[in-house]
């Protein structure tokens, strides 16, 4: 305890990590906060996802609808192959419109239109979720087998064999490829349904809402005098600001990662290009961090933060399509949604689930989110800095 010993102590300020560790530990003790971070997002994903038709994703068989106009041999052969496929559950649908509707709503992973007397089949799918892609693959295999049989039979008959002889020969050598064309026909304006939609929607919704909620911890630190006391340590003021900001950012990223990992493993959600997803989630987490510090700085008491932040997060989530598909809202509301980060985040995350997309596809959205993050972080840190300068 002798002060003379102080000279021997090597002062190595680690304030940023100390603040992050303390804030995360505080959060880990907050049972209500943890419920909203760990449980609530998945409750939302499951129930809303099932309501939107995602309950079948991850089931043993993929539901595929078929419109078969005739009973010609080709239609019969294709249907037989599809029904024999172990991964598909085939449902006969009356019209192409019904088929598109089923795919759009998510009750069908994909659909196939088999016109009478034609070898030109039409595949209906959204191509925006994993189940759709899996269904397409299975349909391709089944149709390919029929095409191969047709082509082989035609070749043997051309060589002078009778139909019976040709059939026997083909059965001997069921190989080769056919000219049966499979053309894709995406449902117009379709967005993913089921978990493929609710997982990214709830990622954005809960990352933002929970960031808003942890703003209360910042206000509480101020009320307790912890920030003031931290500044009396051999610590630069900007280190304290950075520590508080990083704490909120880590929470936002952790929330996002949790939703991504669990939704991938449990619900089979495919998020797309990792680099693109990282850019979107990172920039959105920065937006949430800026908003959290802003709210935490502006509120007068810790009780005000949860009263303001989460409702704000829900409203922005509504406008951004996180609570329901945006095509359910009108153009006016959707236009307003683009004033806020959620709509940009949703666009980017949904785009990344399409095959062949990557960071380049979502650069405009990432740029907008980064701009919003810069503005919010700049403003919030300026106000936070000003407030900590007036401690008395």
């Amino acid at each position: 305890m002798r002060p003379q010993e102080a000279a021997r102590i090597r002062i190595r300020p680690r304030p940023i990590l100390a603040l992050v560790a303390a804030n995360l530990r505080r959060l880990s003790r907050d049972k209500v906060g943890l419920f909203f971070m760990v449980i609530m997002p998945f409750v939302n994903i499951v129930f809303v996802g099932m309501a939107l038709g995602g309950g079948a994703v991850g089931a043993a068989k993929l539901p595929v609808g078929v419109v078969a106009d005739g009973s010609d041999p080709v239609s019969a052969a294709v249907l037989k192959e599809l029904r024999a496929h172990p991964d598909l559950a085939i449902t006969t649908v009356a019209t192409k419109q019904d088929l598109q509707s089923g795919v759009r709503e998510g009750s069908l992973a994909a659909g196939l239109v088999i016109p009478a007397g034609s070898t030109r089949l039409e595949l209906v799918m959204t191509q925006m979720n994993g189940s759709g892609m899996a269904a397409r693959s299975a349909v391709d295999v089944a149709v390919g087998r029929v095409a191969a049989v047709l082509e082989a039979t035609r070749a043997v008959e051309a060589a002078g064999a009778t139909p019976a002889q040709a059939a026997a020969r083909v059965r001997e050598a069921q190989a080769g490829s056919g000219r049966v064309a499979v053309v894709g026909s995406g449902t117009p304006g379709a967005t993913p349904r089921g978990f493929a939609y609710t997982a990214p929607a709830n990622l954005l919704l809960f990352t933002f809402i929970n960031s808003m909620a942890v703003a209360a911890a910042l206000a509480e630190s101020r009320r307790l005098g912890m920030l003031q006391r931290a500044i009396t340590a051999p610590v630069r003021r900007r280190s304290v600001l950075a520590g508080e900001a990083l704490s909120r950012f880590v929470v936002a990223v952790a929330q996002s990662l949790l939703i991504m990992v669990v939704s991938s493993l449990v619900f089979g959600v495919s998020w797309g290009d990792p680099l693109g997803v990282a850019a979107v989630v990172g920039s959105f987490s920065l937006v949430a961090t800026g908003a959290a510090i802003l709210v935490g700085t502006l509120v007068r008491s810790p009780a005000q933060a949860p009263a303001i932040g989460p409702p704000l997060g829900i409203v922005l989530g509504m406008l951004g399509g996180c609570l329901w598909p945006r095509e359910s809202a009108g153009d006016f509301l959707n236009s307003i949604g683009y004033l806020f980060p959620h709509a940009w985040g949703m666009d980017a995350l949904l785009a990344l689930t399409k095959p062949g997309t990557g960071l380049g596809t979502v650069l405009p959205e990432v740029a907008v989110l980064s701009g919003m993050a810069a503005a919010l972080l700049g403003l919030s840190l300026f106000l936070f800095n000003r407030r900590t300068r007036t401690f008395t």
Binding site: M1, R2, P3, Q4, E5, A6, I9, R10, I11, R12, P13, R14, P15, L17, A18, A21, A22, R25, R26, R29, D30, S221, L224, G225, M226, Q228, R229, A230, I231, T232, A233, P234, V235, R236, F391, T392
Partner: protein, 312 residues
């Protein structure tokens, strides 16, 4: 010898209010200095400038010769500051709170663990170290609050009202601990609303009022300022003006001051013996409804210099 903590010409203005003006004092190693003043006198503003929370408009602060403005990190590393409020995380345990502050002060991990144990022992909370702070009594929180300022072995400990709202047992533990630290050579700046604490702990006292140090010295020096006269506080009912004239002329009364509509303060040699004469002097003009004789002590000096009691 270089003072451990020294300030000169400190001033701070908030809008039109000059909260602190030209405050200066120095504390030597192993010296305990008490800063006394009524609410709003400028104590907390002065301390805020000493610990680097507020930038003074004028004046400077040095800690062991290191200028706080020029080398803030080096100067602050030598200060242990215990704020008036309990600035700790209630969700964390006592040990975790101490670890947080130790890391803020840059203590290496291994040394920090040992220092935390030492400090917990010093504040008498080793057995409750792993309980959440929210479950502690007010006194226990106060003790951890002080412990957090001791982890880095500061040269000077600044305690701002450290015993507010604590039970007698915790108060005793805090004061005993503070006395041991001072005996070990640590400089101490102490503010309190409890005069007996200041008289017990502090070697010298500065009395601050309206932002200025109005008197400074040892207890004996300060008490001597008001001489050996007792202070007599009277509450009168009736012809107070007439009674006041009589009291002013009374033999043995050194000074008489009207402090309110019906209140009078007298400074009188041997106050208890003058009391019957005082009663007689006002008799017929006014009735004495209350009387208090305050013998010369720090409280009386404070009252004399600031016109108010410390706990007003």
């Amino acid at each position: 010898m270089t003072a451990t903590l020294a300030c000169t010409g400190l001033s701070k203005r908030f809008g039109d209010v000059l909260a602190v003006q030209d405050v200066g004092f120095a504390i030597a190693p192993g010296e305990a200095y008490g800063l006394l003043g009524p609410n709003g006198a400028g104590k907390t503003t002065t301390i805020s400038m000493l610990v680097g929370l507020l930038k003074p408009a004028t004046g400077n602060v040095t800690v062991c010769g290191t200028d706080l403005a020029a080398e803030p990190l080096a100067a602050k590393a030598k200060i242990g500051y215990v704020p008036q409020e309990i600035a700790l995380y209630p969700e964390l345990t006592g040990r975790e709170n101490l670890r947080f502050f130790g890391r803020l002060f840059g203590l290496p991990r291994r040394e920090l663990a040992a220092r935390i144990d030492e400090v917990l022992d010093l504040v008498g909370l080793s057995d409750r170290a792993d309980g959440k702070l929210g479950t502690y009594s007010g006194g226990m929180k106060r003790r951890i609050n002080i412990g957090a300022a001791l982890l880095h072995r500061p040269e000077v400990l600044i305690l701002d009202e450290p015993t507010v709202g604590v039970d007698p047992q915790s108060r005793k533990a805090i004061l005993d601990g503070v006395e041991r630290l001072v005996a070990d050579g640590m400089a101490l700046l102490y503010t309190s609303h409890y005069m007996e604490e200041v008289e017990r702990v502090c070697d010298r006292v500065g009395i601050i009022d309206h932002g200025r140090i109005v008197a400074e010295g040892t207890r004996h020096e300060l008490v001597a300022m008001v001489g050996s006269a007792d202070t007599i506080e009277l509450m009168l009912d009736g012809d107070v003006d007439g009674a006041f004239d009589k009291l002013q002329a009374l033999e043995g009364v050194v000074e008489a001051v009207r402090t309110g509509t019906g209140s009078v303060r007298l400074l009188a040699e041997g106050g208890r013996y003058v009391l019957p004469a005082i009663i007689t002097a006002v008799d017929g003009r006014a009735t004495v409804t209350a009387v208090e004789v305050i013998e010369p002590d720090l409280e009386a000096t404070f009252l004399h210099l600031t016109g108010s009691k410390l706990r007003d």
